[in-house]
Assembly symmetry: C2
Homo-oligomer: 337 residues x 2
Amino acid sequence: MSIKQIAEMTGLSMTTVSHAINGTRKVSKKSLALVQEAIAKTNYRPNLAAQMMKTNRSKMVAIIIPETEPNNSTNCFYFDVLNGARARLEESGYELIVSTYPESDAKKLTEISVLQRRWIDGILLVPATDSFADVKPICELGLPLVMVDRWVKGCDGIQVTSNNREVSKEAVRLLHQAGGRRIAFIGSILENSTAIDRYEGYCDAIRELNLPLEGTLICRMPKYTLEYGYEAAEQVLNGGADAVFAANSMLCLGAVKRLHERHVKVPDEISVIGFDDYAWTEVMDPPLTAVTQDASLMGKCASEQLLKLITGETAECIHISIPARLAIRESHGPKIK
Amino acid sequence: MSIKQIAEMTGLSMTTVSHAINGTRKVSKKSLALVQEAIAKTNYRPNLAAQMMKTNRSKMVAIIIPETEPNNSTNCFYFDVLNGARARLEESGYELIVSTYPESDAKKLTEISVLQRRWIDGILLVPATDSFADVKPICELGLPLVMVDRWVKGCDGIQVTSNNREVSKEAVRLLHQAGGRRIAFIGSILENSTAIDRYEGYCDAIRELNLPLEGTLICRMPKYTLEYGYEAAEQVLNGGADAVFAANSMLCLGAVKRLHERHVKVPDEISVIGFDDYAWTEVMDPPLTAVTQDASLMGKCASEQLLKLITGETAECIHISIPARLAIRESHGPKIK
DNA sequence: TTGTAAGCGTTATCAC
DNA sequence: GTGATAACGCTTACAA
């Protein structure tokens, strides 16, 4: 079924039919009704390929997220981002194509097939690092681009992230309020903005509380895995920590595992606050107090901005911060005096 | 950059250039070299839209998965399926478009926008139910279709699932071996094949072990949520269960939560085996013995089959079963005598 | 082994 | 308000 056939059915020209469908020019009521009737009867759908060819628009958007091994809770987080984005894009008639890159190898970014095919209207990108050099090839494609979850230093694109720094500071303050005086940080190396912001938030709080920043209490592990969390806990326990801010869910799990094994009582002997809130946080012993991000909303907001870029509206913000909050349970304290 | 321009550069015809690119007809070594050189020099990429228009192929595939609220571990599972599929499709130059439907409303399936646009080469579908009526509209699109994770009764399409029934039976046998005599089942209502198979596997084992199938020990909850797991645990505890097979990760979490709260010792007083293996299973007290599915492999296999359907090779299997296995930890027993 | 030319279904230009 | 027609970039008979 094509416009041509609709034209024949209605006795109108292809031109009029096209305009009637797209509302791109004035069409008489009568013609419009005729076209609508014919479309309903024939179940006509415009041919996407032909439209693409003429308009250079595909109504498709790509999301590029880091890839981790299966069963890593990071996947769960990005899936929620993805799904939030997908839902918003759907409202505007856009499809979402998924692409991933190995977190460890940002160089692969340019090889991403969907970018090579150059047939998407825009990109949602979770950058691997905070370095502009790494995303430069993508910026240079000249496509509408929105950064999600992590920002990039010196890049003036639109960025949608959680308020990692502020909420981390808040978490550390809560640990202090609950009696923590030797508050440890378990996070990752500072190669992307979330790692940096969470660490900075920790430092902000420690300074504000007039506590010393101690090397033995600060762990920046090379990867987000249970094993590294385990190792980090060992280190901060030996450093005499009485509280831990674990800036990633996998690291937090590993740390808690080690605490259990060493029979260190939470929160009596050590307070714990984790990052990202999953169902299992509630089942832990004791239930884990954790930072909750609104991943879905991040995806939604990012899509919203991207759609504005695509349609040519000026996007109003360079950096949008989605508030994360603390889900208060029991692991943070208060300590028994 | 178009084929026309490449033709001009090389002094060949568009036809020859096209054939040289696609390998669809014999081309002299010399011409081929010329074309390749020109392509490398100009960084030419074929125009997808034009290709689509001629070939009616988009080199895009849609995956349709049920949608749950954020932070549900089901999401994590389907993300691994998705990612396995994506990786395999990428190898063959296909992109993956994501689509979801509310688990509770299978009727929405036909409204899925990507299907309406009719511009995909195939579909990977996680059916909402085991009823053919629900997927019929999708089958009738006439597109290559592979079912993933769940099968559909009376549908002769290709289906890739875990061996839910067998592995569930195995889990129950293990509970029995560890001393369980009143083994409870916590699962969901039997509206999709995974729910059914896991329940059947439970029944198989119970019968084989000459234990009675007791109503009070069987919970089929309406949704996969922590709350329902909690409720189910209450019921089976009151029914005198000394072992629990929890056929879903969220239900398992909820059940374990209730066991903790009632200070029932695992595995001394009650054995537990869960379904799906996440990092947190290792951190639970005691570490959870659980069925591990290879979600990623399921996605990969399903894509493999779909690609065969698309390229017209006969797919060799109607039903492919991906073996799940038990990750043995401590929650299943053995009991203290 | 190569080339000519038609045609896919749209949208856009221009003329009426 | 409407219509004829060209053009987008590719694939594929058909012809040589």
